[in-house]
Structure formats: C-alpha cells, structure tokens
C-alpha cells in the first residue's frame, strides 16, 4: 500500500547517505586522528561537512522528528570540530612558541615583569639588611629544612665548604638534585601564576618572601666576608632561575590586575585574554627553570671558580634580555 511520504521523510531519504558517510569519517577522526583518512576521504570531508550543515538548517525548519534533529545537531558539531580543530604539529608549534609566542608575551608584560622584580628586590633588600644587622633575623626567613645546616651558628669554614665543597663526593647525586630542583621550582612558578586569581595579593607575598630568603642567605654569608662567593654561587643559575620566578610572578600579577581592573572589555573577556598571554609566560618560564636546574645541578658543581660562575650567570642574563628584546618587541600578536 502506497502511503503518502512526509516531506521531511523524503528530505531525509535524499540526504541520508551523505550523513552516514560523514558520520563514518568523523568517527574515525575522533578515534584515530585526521591522518587516518585516505586522500579521497580527506578531500570529501569539507563538502560533506557543508552539506550536513545545510541539512541541519533545513531540518530545523521542516522536520519535527526529534531523533533526526538531535542526530544532525550532534553530527554537525562533531564535524565542525574535525574541520576546524587543532591542526598544528607539535614541533612546529614548539618552535613557533619559543621563536615568537613566548618572548612576545614577555615583552608585552614588561611592566608587570618590572613590578614583580621590584617585589622580589624589596624582599631581598629587607632580608639582607635585617640579617646583616642582626643574624638572628635569619631564622625568621629561612626554615630549618631549607637552611640545611647553613645558619648563623655555623663556622665560616663550614659555610665556605657549602659553596665550593662536595663537588667530587656528590657528583653522582647531581642529576637527582637538578631534577628535584627543576620540578620544585617549576611548581612554585605555576603556583605563582595560579595565585594571581586572588587579585595578585599572594603573588606579591610569594615574591617578597622568596626575595627575603635570598636576602637572608646572602646577608649571612656576607657578614662572614663571603659576599662575593655567595653571589657567584647563587647567580650562576640564579639569573635564569630568578628571572623565571619574576616572570611567573608577573604572569600572576597580570591575572590579578585583569581581575581587579577589567578596563574596557568585560571582566570575563579580559581575564580570558590576559590569562592566555600570562600562561604563555609561565610555560616558557618552565623551560627556563629546566635550564636553571641544569645550571644549578651540574654547572655549579663543576665550575667552582667565582669568576667563571659570574661569567656564566651574567652571560645567561644578557642572553635572556636580548632574547626577549629582539624576538619579543614589535607587534603584540604573538601568534
């Protein structure tokens, strides 16, 4: 018996085959990636995608079949993400990131970087001055675990030994040390960024506190006449590491100021924009922490002459400045 076919069913009969073909391709991309397609299928994908979108807009008007509508909605969305999905290759993305994205983000945030640096500096000066005047202050800034025996109670020789000794004996532990330092510092850096969400206040405290620890240590050594040596010991990796700390702090401050002062766009839009810029800085800083970890774990134990330590640390500092200035300045797209 011939029944009258609904207009919407007729429509479905005409197009169904191309939907099924697209569903097959999309399912495969979702499971195994875009590269699992044959050349022919890849060629057909955009056409099938456009035809399902047009089917969707027709179906919304003429069909009341819920199953069909839901199928087309979901298939269109899935196909949309296949056609306009992430398509960059890993190594390509990496070189673009370090070639342009990271330094541009840092350069764009240079005033935040300056503020973060001043916070760290203020902490360092405070810790240094207080410890020089009265070594008891040392204990206020540095926990026992962190000091690991380097306290005002130690003899000057023992302190000197921590700066230069242990190179041979502990050479086996260097890798473990470097790896631990890297993980620890990178996590602190990420934390500094994330804490920016509390209007940046904890970031300032974190920077100031880290600066104070630094100041207390150098103050202690300086009070024993080891000032030149402690700075050499610190700065060989410290220029890179502290730079990274300051960058992470700057990223946190960016987030905090976007939250507090949204400016012309909405708070949500502004946060999303600053958040992405700031997160680039943090990811780059993680790489800097890795380099710093290597310098600290290996470089410092192998290079014991203060002159060379200064040279390596200073060279690294100049290199980072040039890198951010030359690769980062000019244009703020940072794609």
């Amino acid at each position: 018996m011939a029944r009258l076919m609904l207009r919407s069913s007729q429509f479905r009969h005409e197009r169904e085959e191309s939907w099924k073909a697209l569903e097959e391709i999309v399912g495969r991309i979702e499971r195994r990636g875009i590269r699992s397609l044959s050349a022919n299928e890849a060629l057909h994908l955009p056409g099938l995608y456009r035809s399902v979108l047009s089917s969707l807009s027709v179906a919304r008007e003429i069909s009341l079949d819920r199953n069909l509508l839901e199928f087309l909605e979901s298939l269109s969305a899935r196909a949309y993400f296949c056609v306009y999905g992430v398509r960059s290759r890993f190594w390509q993305a990496l070189s673009a990131f370090f070639g342009r994205g990271f330094p541009a983000a840092v350069w764009g945030a240079r005033y935040h970087v300056l503020v973060a640096f001043l916070c760290l500096l203020a902490g360092a000066v405070t810790g240094y001055v207080l410890t020089i005047r009265n070594p008891e202050w040392f204990y206020a800034f540095v926990s026992e675990a962190m000091a690991s025996g380097r306290t005002p109670a130690s003899t000057t020789d023992a302190l000197r030994e921590t700066l230069y000794g242990g190179g041979q004996a502990a050479s086996d532990g260097l890798a473990a040390f470097a790896s631990f330092l890297f993980g620890h510092n990178a996590r602190i850096g990420m934390l500094a960024f994330a804490l920016g969400f509390a209007f940046g206040v904890p970031v300032i405290l974190l920077l100031f506190y880290n600066g104070a620890v630094l100041g207390a240590f150098t103050g202690l050594f300086a009070s024993r006449g080891l000032g030149v040596d402690i700075w050499a010991w610190l700065l060989i990796h410290g220029t890179t590491e502290l730079f990274a700390v300051v960058l992470c702090g700057a990223a946190g401050l960016m987030l905090g100021s976007a939250l507090a002062f949204p400016g012309r766009s909405t708070r949500l839009a502004n946060l999303a924009h600053s958040g992405r810029q700031a997160s680039r800085i943090v990811m780059g800083a993680v790489a800097m922490f890795f380099i710093a970890g290597l310098l600290e774990g290996f470089g410092r134990q192998m290079i014991t002459d203060p002159v060379y330590r200064y040279a390596v640390g200073g060279g690294a500092f100049v290199w980072w400045l040039l890198y951010f200035r030359l690769r980062g300045a000019g244009g703020t797209d940072g794609e």
Binding site: L6, E16, S63, D65, S74, Y84, F180, T266
Partner: protein
Amino acid sequence: MASSAETAAPGAGETSGTRNLLTPEGVPVRVRLADRGERAAALIIDLLIVFASIIGLGLACIFILSGAISGHATLAVFLLISFLIRSFYFIFFELHWEGRTPGKRVLGLRVIDRSGARLRADAIFARNLMREVEVFIPVSLLLSAGTLGVGGWGKLLTIVWISVLVLLPFFNRDRLRAGDIVGGTWVISMPKNVLSQDISDAPARTDDAAAVTDAGHRFTLSQLDAYGIYELQTLETALRNTGPSAEQLHAEIAARVAAKIRWPDVVPPEAARHFLTDYYTALRSHLEARALFGERRADKHDGAPPEQ
C-alpha cells in the same frame, strides 16, 4: 576577535544547558554544556590515571632501572618524569586529542574555545595551569592539614578562598571553573547520537499487520489539533521504546490518545502501536505543514486550535 564570544552569548534558541556556536558557514551549531557531575567524574578518572602512572613509574624505577643505573640517577629519572606526568598530563592530552583527556573521552566531553574558534595551545596552558590551585593545593591541604606556613586566620582565609575556587562552577551559568575563565574555554558534552529509523515510514506493521484488517487510520483536522510539538516528540520517544514493557506502555498511551481525540472505536492493545504510528505520522505531517507557514505549536496548550 577574542572577545566575540562574550558579547555574542547567549543567543536565540539557547536554553540553560546549551550554547550556540556560529560556524564560518553561517549556520549556528548547538552544543550542550557538560554537567558538573560528568566533569567531576572525568577529573576523577584522570587523577586516578595520573596517580596510578606515577606509582607505576616508581615501581618500574625500583625494580628495573635501579638494577641498571645508580640510585641517584634512578631518583633523578623518577623525579623528572613524575613532575612531567603530574604537570603536563592534562596539557599533553588536550593538545594531542583536541581538547579531550582520557577521562573526558570516556565521558564524551570536550574542551572548546568560547568564541567557537580553533582551540589554541595557550588556552589549554592557561586552563590547566590553574589546576595547581584548584586541584593540587586543595588535595595537598587535605592530606597535610595545611602546612602553608600561615597562622590560624591565614589558614581560614586560604580555605575560604580555595572553597570559592572549587565551588566556582556552581555559581555561573556557563559552569566555568577558574581555569575555564582564564583560558576562555567551555567544556561541552558531545554524545554520539545515532540516527534511528524514521517512525513515519517505518514498516511498523510487520507483525501486527495481520491483526489489523483496516489498512490505516484516518484522522480529522480537529483530532490532529489536539496536540502540539512537545506531545509529538514525546510520542516519538515512546514509540522508539522497544523495551520489555513497551507493549503495555503503547496500549496505555493509545487509550489516552483515543480518549483525548474522541476516537470512535476502541483501540485493542495489539493494534496500539499501529494506531499510534498512524496518529504520529498524521500529526507530524499536520504540524510540519503548519510550521512551514510559521505556526510552530509548541504544545497542546499553545494557542487555541482553530474552530471547525
């Protein structure tokens, strides 16, 4: 460019759980925001994978590596790789699988850019770096009962602040967590809907055809005006139900429909499905025709049916 999503939302036809993405082709595509429960489940799966792989790595280091290289080197390898797993698990998978981690894949979830544009790497970085305060600090606070080096009030403040972060998805319509806010992302649910047979042209009378001598039911216009789109689609769902109690369900619905439209005959239970299928087809044809003229009747209460 980046702020287009915030100015565009929410558009026409969006309900509380769905959002429209405007494709470059000009057709808006509807996506459904993921439930908080689904997201929590996905997170738990991912965290279990992270912890399990770190434990597995530790065991591998102890039993395999430590035999080959020195203890310190083993420790170095362990520290480095466990840091990478912990900090980059989410970033790696969301980059590699276009916004999906294994947990999200199991639950059918996906991260997308709120503007509908390509999900970029920095959005993924941003949303996952925030996990440091959203997930890892609360967890370690719970485990260590707070050793952040702050006093009583500071601790209280920290706990309040962290609760704000953790509960953030409950306080906004888009169910954004802090990472989504900072990254400019949504998490959506993407079920794979299957295209079933069209009920209106299904060979519905394979088995119950014999029982029915009358080839088809005919309905008057006033009988078709009894219901709207909502009822039509509810009926569709019921007709797609082929479970064990489907027959009884269909008989009940057929009786209610027959009463409502004042169907002159009694619908026997074995012909219920046939009757409903015919009524569905007729009703859909009627409503679709009216929709073409711009009269979409949402449900049976929508607009008085025209007088006969």
